[in-house]
């Protein structure tokens, strides 16, 4: 699995790397580890709830576990795994040699990593945050949450948020500016399209959350009154700030999965995507509407019938572009030649299970119905269908799809299918019964439930499902191990796919493209198969061709230099973050390190001489 082509090796080369493919691998590995950790936390939660009135976990530990589970899954597993795919796939799909700002890219990774490590430093110190991933004020103010637990939450999300915003900026500019000649917007692969949309979402959604976190930090550490009802403030403001971010965050997690599936389904149907422009614009529409629906997380707050009706209506609207995507995927498969390789199984698994999550979502878009469903296990069922059936299945789909490209080795199909079927069964066994436990009156975030409420059977089934989930990781890990030892070589284009990343060797060379290709159509690698009469207007035969005239010498390849400074800058920010727990001196020292890193970064040449 070693990528030696043009690469230096050794620990130092990884600490200083600015290569998008290496950063992708680091994001993936770290994100996957956090996924496993948060998965174990979820498993412990299910163990506690297996039967009524169990005392396997005490309430405080339980509250810490569900807080860590949610926070980790969203910020330290979901986001980095999404960004791992951005990093690996986007430059390859648009015909670029790297992202627009390679050092900024490395910096994003390091602050994300430090944010995650900082959050988990609370575990050995036994001060995990316990306010939920939503951390509602005033429960999280020092009066009700003394001790540093919530500070770990606030500071970890502040520092990793800086990395997220930097990443959003980077990919926005990369996709807008670094496309190969001829790669117009309407020729971009769907995954790149969704990465563009999500980058914009990150840029616009994170600042309100950052501000909310700063308010919370100041309320906790400096005695301000942003959420203090006694001072005239409204604690509900925190909920607004959180959900103005929190709802787009859901789309930050789901749209990349939609993008992956929109690339995978055509490949394994041997058919181009049905209604490409409609799929693109429905993604844009979902993102746009996503900023206007946050109050549907707050229907029970009592904001009045007008507010609730408006936000309920806006929420329902989102079902339309989402439905369009599902129907377009089905239409892509219709009349195709479906090859059910593992990646395809996860893709259609997403279509099948996301539909369930989407439909339960419509159920609580209706404000009156939501008044019964909100904060119950019905909602837990809903968003796990969306986030596992959608995001996680989408990410696994992408994992099986691009693994051969990233490593040059093929994964074992039988083990892959075992992984799919186990996780598909586990998802449904764990979370389908939660619809019932919710409707029968089981609130969320409760460490126990009474006997005699009729909830016992459903909870027990859910716990069994969680065990199957844990089991589903066995074939995955085994598969990785097996492929590490003896995986068949992948070749350039093992799936007969249509986009630019499949034109190069697997794994791709350091510089990606020996020559930047010129693109004159969508799905350039399939141009021989697309009949002339069905071609979009203006397409000429060709596909992806080198721009160079045959007798012209190749243009020199200029690659970004490796650099220590992104790491130094991130360390400086980590020191400031740790100082935020109560040491002004450390904060100032961190500020100094940050400043040094910033200046050194600014004066260091970003790009080197010719690499080959």
């Amino acid at each position: 699995m070693a990528m030696t082509d043009g690469y230096s090796t050794g620990i130092r080369s990884w600490l200083t790397t600015v290569d998008h493919k290496r950063i992708a691998i680091m994001y993936f590995v770290v994100g996957f580890v956090f996924l496993l950790i948060a998965g174990v936390e979820g498993q412990l939660i299910r163990l506690q709830l297996a039967t009524p009135e169990r005392s396997f976990l005490d309430p405080d530990l339980y509250n810490q576990l569900f807080t860590m589970h949610g926070t980790t899954m969203v910020f330290f597993a979901g986001m980095p795994l999404v960004v791992a795919f951005f990093n690996f796939v986007v430059p390859l799909q648009i015909g670029a040699r790297d992202v627009a700002f390679p050092r900024l890219n490395a910096f994003s990774f390091w602050v994300f990593l430090f944010g995650g490590l900082f959050l988990y430093a609370s575990v050995p110190l036994r001060v995990m945050p316990d306010g939920g991933w939503f951390a509602y004020m005033p429960l999280t103010n020092p009066e009700y949450s003394p001790g540093p637990g919530i500070d770990f939450y606030v500071l970890a999300l502040l520092i990793s948020g800086v990395g997220s915003i930097a990443g959003g900026l980077n990919f926005l500019v990369t996709i807008l500016n670094m496309r190969a000649p001829g790669m117009t917007f309407m020729r971009m692969p769907l995954f790149t399209w969704m990465a563009l949309i999500v980058s914009a979402l990150i840029l616009l959604a994170f600042p309100p959350f950052t501000v909310g976190l700063i308010f919370m930090l100041f309320d906790r550490r400096f005695g301000t009154h942003f959420f203090d009802a006694a001072a005239g403030a409204d604690p509900v403001l925190w909920q607004h700030l959180f959900w103005v971010f929190g709802h787009p965050e859901v789309y930050i997690l789901i749209l990349p999965a939609f993008g992956i599936v929109s690339d995978v389904i055509p490949t394994f149907s041997r058919k181009i995507l049905f209604g490409y422009p409609v799929v693109v614009f429905s993604g844009v529409l979902i993102a746009f509407l996503g900023f206007g629906v946050w109050v549907h997380h707050m229907f029970s707050v009592g904001l009045g019938p007008v507010v609730n009706a408006v936000f309920g209506g806006a929420t329902m609207l989102i079902a339309i572009p989402t439905g369009i995507k599902i129907f377009n995927w089905i239409a892509t498969m219709w009349g195709g030649r479906l090859r059910f390789r593992t990646a395809m199984l996860f893709a259609v698994g997403l279509v099948a299970t996301f539909t369930i999550g989407g439909l339960s979502g419509v159920m609580h878009s209706s404000p009156p119905a939501d008044l019964q469903q909100t904060d119950t296990y019905f909602v837990v069922a809903h968003f796990h269908y969306v986030l596992i059936g959608g995001t996680v299945f989408g990410l696994f789909c992408g994992f099986y799809y691009w693994f051969p490209k990233a490593t040059g080795r093929m994964l074992h199909e039988g083990l892959g299918k075992a992984h799919f079927w186990l996780s598909f069964i586990a998802l449904n066994v764990t979370f389908f019964p939660m619809h019932f436990s919710g409707l029968l009156g089981m609130p969320r975030r409760t460490y126990t439930y009474a006997e005699g409420l009729g909830l016992d059977v459903f909870n027990l089934i859910s716990t069994v499902g969680a065990f199957i989930f844990t089991l589903s990781f066995v074939p995955l890990v085994w598969n990785l191990w097996r492929t590490w030892r003896r995986g068949e070589a992948a070749g350039h284009n093992p799936w007969d796919a249509s986009t630019l990343e499949w034109t190069m060797a697997s794994p791709p060379p350091h510089y990606n493209f020996a020559e930047i290709p010129a693109v004159d159509r969508r799905d350039p690698l399939w141009h021989p198969y697309i009949e002339p009469e069905s071609r979009a207007e203006g397409d000429e035969p060709g596909g992806a061709v080198p721009r160079r005239q045959p007798d012209e010498p190749p243009a020199p390849v200029v690659m970004p230099n490796p650099s220590y400074w992104p790491l130094v800058l991130a360390v400086g920010m980590l020191l400031m973050t740790i100082g935020g727990l109560g040491s002004l001196g450390l904060t100032l020292f961190g500020l100094l390190v940050t400043a040094v890193g910033l200046f050194a970064w600014a004066f260091e040449p970003a790009f080197g001489e010719e690499a080959h």
């Binding site: 627009a100 700002f101 915003i165 959003g168 900026l169 980077n170 926005l172 500019v173 807008l176 500016n177 670094m178 496309r179 790669m183 840029l203 616009l204 959604a205 994170f206 600042p207 309100p208 950052t210 501000v211 909310g212 700063i214 308010f215 100041f218 309320d219 400096f222 005695g223 301000t224 009154h225 942003f226 203090d228 006694a230 001072a231 005239g232 403030a233 409204d234 403001l237 700030l241 103005v244 200046f599 600014a602 970003a606 790009f607």
Partner: protein
């Protein structure tokens, strides 16, 4: 350093525009919070007890003038007039510093008059909003100073006009934000 881009806009400039978009959300949230909480303060002192509009009008004028200096600096560097570039960059940074000095005076005066950060809802929203803006001005002053130093060292000339332009984009944005803050906090008190 980089080849032609798909949009024709240089990467760094596009990134600055995108960053400004993100910053709009940041200040938008801070400003919205201030406006929502306006008039809800329950504990004295209140805004009209303390806000010194004539004084802030002067520092606001200074900050506005710094934007003019910034425009002149960019024009100078584009013409490769390095002497003028140094002058205008220096004045931009200096005016920014004067503004910050005014803010420092205002903050310490408020604290002295019994309005520390943790006093009430007004102090919380006021200090965090204007403080965040002040931090942006301070960052801008440091940035402009490095450009000035590089010009003095002879490392910055017309070939780097884009760098000055990007710093200018940021600086103008920060000034525009202040115009909004000045209007909402001081003029509408």
């Amino acid at each position: 350093m980089e080849g032609p881009t798909s949009t024709g806009i240089p990467n760094r400039k596009l990134a600055m525009w995108a960053f400004i978009g993100s910053e709009c959300m940041l200040f938008g949230t801070l400003i919205a919070t201030y406006m929502i909480y306006r008039g809800r303060n329950l504990v004295p002192p209140y805004p009209h007890d303390l806000l010194n509009i004539p004084f802030i009008t002067i520092t606001t004028f200074v900050l506005l003038m710094s934007s003019l200096m910034m425009v002149l600096a960019l024009a100078a560097v584009q013409k490769n007039d390095l002497r003028a570039t140094k002058l205008w960059l220096g004045l931009t940074a200096l005016f920014g510093l004067i503004f910050l000095g005014g803010q420092y005076y205002e903050f310490s005066h408020f604290v002295h008059e019994g309005l520390p950060l943790s006093r009430n809802l007004f102090s919380s929203t006021f200090f965090v909003l204007t403080g965040t803006h002040g931090a942006h001005v301070a960052g801008g002053v440091i940035w402009l100073s490095t450009l000035l130093v590089r010009t003095v060292q002879g490392q910055l000339d017309a070939r780097h006009a884009e760098t000055v332009e990007i710093a200018g984009l940021y600086w103008h944005f920060v000034d525009v934000v202040w115009i909004i803050l000045f209007t909402l906090i001081y003029l509408l008190v």
